[in-house]
């Protein structure tokens, strides 16, 4: 038996993947199947599930209705589609902003002296030591009407003798965007840094030697070679932002409701797990579609070779 284990590669492989396989089947595949089954059911009066095979939840999500105000037999309420769209555009904007902020920083760290690089990376990771929710609360302290930012602005206005009314920053879409960008910045910095750090210095020298000024070197050499990092970072940021609900809950209040909030409320407030399951599946499918087209265009963040 032991001898076979030593020699047979396929048995070794089986042993290596078994723990993860058990974990994934038990905690991902089976729950996913259950979610799918539940999504076709109905909510019972006490918040339970009546198993059935109906598309009612999905029709509700696309806003399909037969009781229309204008007397038509079929109409569509865009409420949930709007939430989906809001989630998507927030995830998109967050990702773009995070790339714009993370890239220069990652470039700076990658080009720094090797001794200092570790210090900088360490500093990037420090915020992750604090709990996610606590960091969002910190933003509430900053953005509140009586918060730090308004107090400082008030002082400055007072010194300059300008009338100042505190800014309404908390519970706005902008606050949610700022919070998202803040939360997900490290997840973009690290993969971009990794791919920039791998670029050999001689490639920059070769580009300069062949007549490329620093700007053209960046466009033609640095950027294409660091795209794997940008792609990996985009996947790490876009997907979680699509499903998040804590940041929008705390910084957006009732103003900014995302798919994540919708799902959370179905399970915890509205007690309708069937509709929540349907929304979860739609979110997953939409995210998969976006990721599929994105990675088909830009690759999967692997090395650009062959």
């Amino acid at each position: 038996m032991l001898r076979r284990l030593r020699e047979d590669k396929s048995i070794q492989g089986t042993f290596l993947i078994t723990p993860t396989l058990v974990f994934m089947v038990g905690l991902l595949i089976i729950p996913l199947i259950l979610t799918t089954i539940v999504s076709f059911g109905h909510r019972s009066a006490d918040g339970g599930v009546i198993y059935a095979f109906s598309f009612d939840n999905y029709l509700r999500l696309i806003g399909y209705s037969t009781q229309c105000d204008n007397g038509a037999s079929v109409c569509f309420d865009p409420l949930y589609a709007q939430i989906m769209w809001r989630s998507f555009s927030l995830a998109f904007n967050t990702t773009v902003l995070v790339i714009l902020l993370a890239y220069p920083l990652a470039y700076f760290i990658a080009r720094a002296h090797p001794i200092r690089r570790n210090t900088f990376l360490f500093l990037v990771l420090i915020p992750l030591w604090t709990n996610f929710v606590i960091r969002v609360y910190a933003w509430m302290m900053l953005l509140r009407k009586e918060g730090v930012i308004n107090i400082v602005f008030g002082w400055i206005a007072g010194m300059l003798h300008i009338p100042f009314t505190p800014l309404e920053m908390l519970y706005t879409p902008g606050a949610v965007l700022v919070g998202m960008v803040y939360e997900f910045l490290p997840f973009m910095i690290l993969p971009i840094y990794t791919s920039l750090e791998k670029i050999d210095n001689s490639l920059y020298e070769a580009a300069a030697d062949l007549g490329a000024n620093p700007f053209r070197t960046f466009l033609r050499v640095t950027l294409p070679l660091s795209m794997p990092g940008v792609v990996a970072g985009t996947i790490l940021v876009f997907i979680p932002v699509m499903g998040t609900f804590i940041v929008s809950d705390l910084l957006g209040g009732r103003q900014v409701i995302l798919v994540g909030n919708l799902i959370q409320r179905q399970f915890l407030d509205a007690r309708d797990p069937t509709f929540g399951s349907a929304a979860s599946l739609i979110l997953m499918v939409l995210t998969l579609i976006v990721t599929y087209f994105y990675t088909r265009k830009f690759g999967f963040g692997e090395e650009i070779v062959v």
Binding site: D200, S202, L203, E205, A206, A207, A208, D209, L210, G211, A212, N213, R216, R220, V221, P224, L225, I304, V305, V306
Partner: protein
Amino acid sequence: MGSKYAVELRNVVKQFITPEGGEIAAVDHVTMQIRNGEFFSMLGSSGCGKTTSLRMIAGFEWPTEGEVYIDGEPQGHKPPFLRPVNTVFQSYALFQHMTVQENVAFGLEMERVEKAEIERRVGEALEMVKLSGMQRRRPKQLSGGQQQRVALARALVKRPKVLLLDEPLGALDLKLRKEMQLELKSLQQEVGITFIYVTHDQEEALTMSDRIAVMSHGKVLQIGPSVEIYERPTSRFVADFIGESNFLDGRVKSVKGDQAIVNVPAWGEELTGIVTSKVRAGDEVAVSIRPEKIRLAEKQGIKENSLQGVVVNSTYIGSDTHVYLDVRGQRIKVWEQNRISTLDPRAYYRNGQKVWVMLLPENTLVLPKD
């Protein structure tokens, strides 16, 4: 188009800061003139300053002192992309995200050359390095030798005034390296561009160069054609670094013209040899004689520079026999060419055999001690 020198280094110093905070001169007051159209090599072991010198010509480093001239023009702090030179890197530094075609076209696109013209010149350059038909490949899909050729084509397609080569053959295996040496040499003659070649391989330098600069510890020790460097080294270091040599310590008794008589205390004898640099009577010197230039005989042939020795070890290596002798307590090595094809063991030197060792004065060099 004025200067007769393609590149000139005048009193160039390059200092680097060490991690401990000290300063170290990687290049220490180097002056050299590289003529138009010549194949010029900088030869030395690692850390001798050859690569730093090359990088200062390319513009990757700027001199701490002194000035680099290209085609008569001082370069100052001009960045690499404004200099009329191109480099072939030791690591090739090919762009992995581009095809062979795109790699070679890159430099021309930077010059904003017309599309059709780029197409034509890239085709020509690839033909020159025998890579036609490989345009669509990526560097990773090529062998080391082919990648080396792409790097060469990428630099040559720009038609630089000077091509800088930083140990470009270092990563290739021996056989391919020898082939490429000859190819590079004939390519250089074909295009007529000045090549500045950095290498630590003396044989490579001797094979290809019109002239060689031998460097050590940031200084140039000697500049000259291959023959001169090998046959008339001006210092013990150069004689030792290029090829092999026997050295004997001595003191100059007298100098007459280009000949000197040297007292060698280890032998209690006087040897006559050629002077290649300034030495005066009384100077401590090294007497140098190359192993293939020593004559062995059973009978004494000449009176001068002739001594008796005993064969300690004789190794047959095919074309030559390497004979190690004990000559009055000094170990002397002699390469004897096997000019006659025979199996007779008496035709070769045997251990314990007594022989006359003749150091002909015209083969013996008197060199200043470093």
